[in-house]
């Protein structure tokens, strides 16, 4: 029994450590670098002004919101039924490979492979919130 508790504790610790370090990595995300990446990789499809839809929805307040909840944009059935909330973990996964995270999403973007760049971009998306 004790063994199991020990094991569980170690696992919990590991997980917590992992989450923490992940959190630190994200905390290290550079908003300015993220803004630049956004310009080159996302701006052709996404505006950062609320309510301005382009090919994709405005990403002005997307952080922290449920996926496909921006009013006035015609989201894909796939994203609507994905039941995601946009936080660090979900954005990290989605931006790495949109089509494998949400098959049938109509965001045909092949993905952002670098974890550091995803961190920067997410930091930038966070910074748009409440602007």
């Amino acid at each position: 029994m004790l063994k199991y508790i020990q094991k569980a504790a170690i696992w919990t610790g590991l997980t917590a450590g992992f989450v923490l370090s992940a959190g630190q990595a994200w905390a290290a995300g550079n908003t300015a670098a993220g803004a630049q990446l956004f310009q080159s990789q996302c701006a052709m499809c996404h505006a950062t002004t609320p309510g301005m839809a382009g090919i994709g929805p405005s990403l002005a307040g997307v952080y922290g919101e449920p996926a496909a909840s921006t009013a006035g944009y015609d989201f894909s059935p796939a994203l609507k039924s994905a039941h995601l909330v946009w936080n660090v973990a979900t954005l990290n996964k989605f931006l790495k490979s949109p089509q494998s995270t949400v098959p049938g999403t109509k965001m045909p973007y092949s993905g952002l492979p670098s974890v550091g760049q995803r961190a920067d971009l997410i930091a930038y998306l966070v910074s748009l919130k409440g602007k």
Partner: protein, 449 residues
């Protein structure tokens, strides 16, 4: 088999024309994605970076399973004027000049077959109003999967298709290249390369991969293996008689794409090899034809205007190992080359201008290009040079008329001038016809709904 172009049409039209939510709700890809056609197309049938990604990812984006929205129809009607009439008619049952025609009427399916696994399709059937028959047109069914290679995003996939280069993402290769509006009542020049001639007469399987080596650089490669359709199948699909080719026909494609801000540039190469039987044979010794090409494309796309340019050069080497001993060709070896340069501008999603220069040149061979009034060559040369200008207007960019709001249209005027035709500027056919006699004005409308 030039009708294949119309496949792109509905999608392209959609792209350019659709704008209101109603307008975009019928034509298939636009309906599936909820995007205006202009998201994926600049003019017809050119793909934007988004359009390329959509095709690469298997036509599934925004879709799930087939629905009525995935079906669409298209029709092209127009008026053809030639500089000099063609005695006997522009085509059977057509006048010798000044002909009205409904050249193509197509139905097509476009979009996801089963999105969760990346299975999607582009399938077109066309009624040819000049030949008066129905035939299968462009077909591309694909399964696309995302993965990673050395930490780089990769899309790879498999395709079943019926024309070399119908799978292509860029608009220089033949299937989706210029001329964007072929007139099937035009006087056709004598020479055609295999890569174009095989369209819809073959069925093939292929695989492709696109690796994003950096955020702005993509490497694309594709290999397809085709087999000619058996004769009865070719007739059943409206493309008979069969093309008589031995064994499998490999086709390959390799391209690099670099993008920055509103620009993208592509350079690539493509090739095909086949071993056709001499005319009238379906077994025994074969000839050997090899097509090797290079292409490039540039695009600059802004919301209110876009500029693009394409270049394509294809060299065909012809080894007439079987035809020459039969006396069907004059030489044992010939070459046939084509060069096409195209530039277009699209303004305000309403006005389009395209200019193109096309040249066909190669060995003289009186067996291949025999003298005959209008269609033949007096000196056995395939040399044909032409300049084409196309003006387009999209009247219903903000949605169709109230009674028929989902209709989209493109009005076009296209003029082609021949500097040389089948070898010469004057008396090219030996019967006194000059190249400019084939100059052609084609004007009409494309409707899609």
């Amino acid at each position: 088999m030039r009708n294949h172009l119309c496949l792109a049409l509905p999608v392209a039209l959609l792209a350019v024309l659709a704008s209101t939510s109603v307008a975009r709700s019928i034509p298939a890809f636009a309906a599936q994605t909820g995007e205006p056609c202009s998201a994926c197309h600049i003019g017809f049938p050119q793909l934007t970076p988004y359009g390329r990604e959509f095709k690469l990812e298997g036509y599934v984006a925004g879709g799930s399973v087939p629905g009525y929205k995935n079906f669409a129809a298209m029709s092209q009607a127009g008026f053809t004027y030639l500089h000099s009439k063609v005695p006997g008619g522009l085509a059977p049952e057509f006048p010798s000049n000044n002909a009205w025609s409904v050249q193509q009427t197509s139905v097509f399916y476009g979009g996801a077959l089963y999105a969760p696994i990346g299975l999607g399709a582009f399938i077109q059937g066309t009624y040819d109003g000049v030949a008066h028959q129905f035939h299968w047109d462009n077909l591309d069914i694909r399964l696309a999967r995302p993965t990673e290679l050395a930490d780089k995003p990769v899309f790879y996939g498999f395709t079943v298709n019926n024309a070399p280069s119908v799978t292509d993402l860029w608009n220089a290769p033949p299937a989706w290249g210029y001329p964007f509006i072929p007139d099937s009542l035009a006087v056709g020049n004598a020479a055609e390369q295999q890569i174009s001639a095989l369209a819809q007469s073959v069925l093939g399987v292929g695989s492709y991969a696109a690796v994003n080596v950096t955020l702005n650089d993509m490497v694309y490669s594709e290999v397809d293996l085709y087999r000619p359709l058996p004769n009865h199948t070719a007739y059943a699909l409206g493309v008979g008689p069969e093309v008589s080719v031995a064994g499998v026909i490999p086709y390959w494609r390799f391209a690099l794409q670099h993008s920055w801000s509103a620009n993208s540039i592509e350079v690539g190469t493509l090739g095909l090899a086949d071993n056709p039987y001499p005319a009238g044979f379906s077994q025994g010794p074969t000839d050997h034809l090899r097509d090797l090409g290079a292409d490039a494309q540039f695009q600059w796309i802004k919301p209110n205007q876009a500029v693009s340019a394409q270049a394509l050069f294809i060299h065909e080497s012809q080894d007439w190992a079987a035809s020459y001993p039969l006396g069907a060709t004059q030489n044992l070896h010939d070459t046939l080359n084509t060069l096409t340069l195209t530039a277009s501008w699209l303004g305000a999603q309403k006005f389009g201008v395209t200019e193109s220069y096309n040249t066909v040149f190669g060995s003289r061979d009186k067996g291949l290009y025999a003298a005959a009034p209008v269609s033949g060559s007096a000196n056995g040369s395939p040399l044909t040079n032409s300049l084409t200008s196309e003006l387009d207007y999209y009247p219903w960019n903000e949605g169709g008329p109230a009674i028929f709001p989902w209709v989209n249209a493109k009005l076009f005027i296209e003029n082609t001038t021949y500097l040389r035709f089948n070898g010469r500027a004057r008396n090219y056919d030996g019967a006194g016809r000059s190249a400019t006699a084939n100059d052609i004005l084609f004007t009409g409308i494309w409707l899609v709904f």
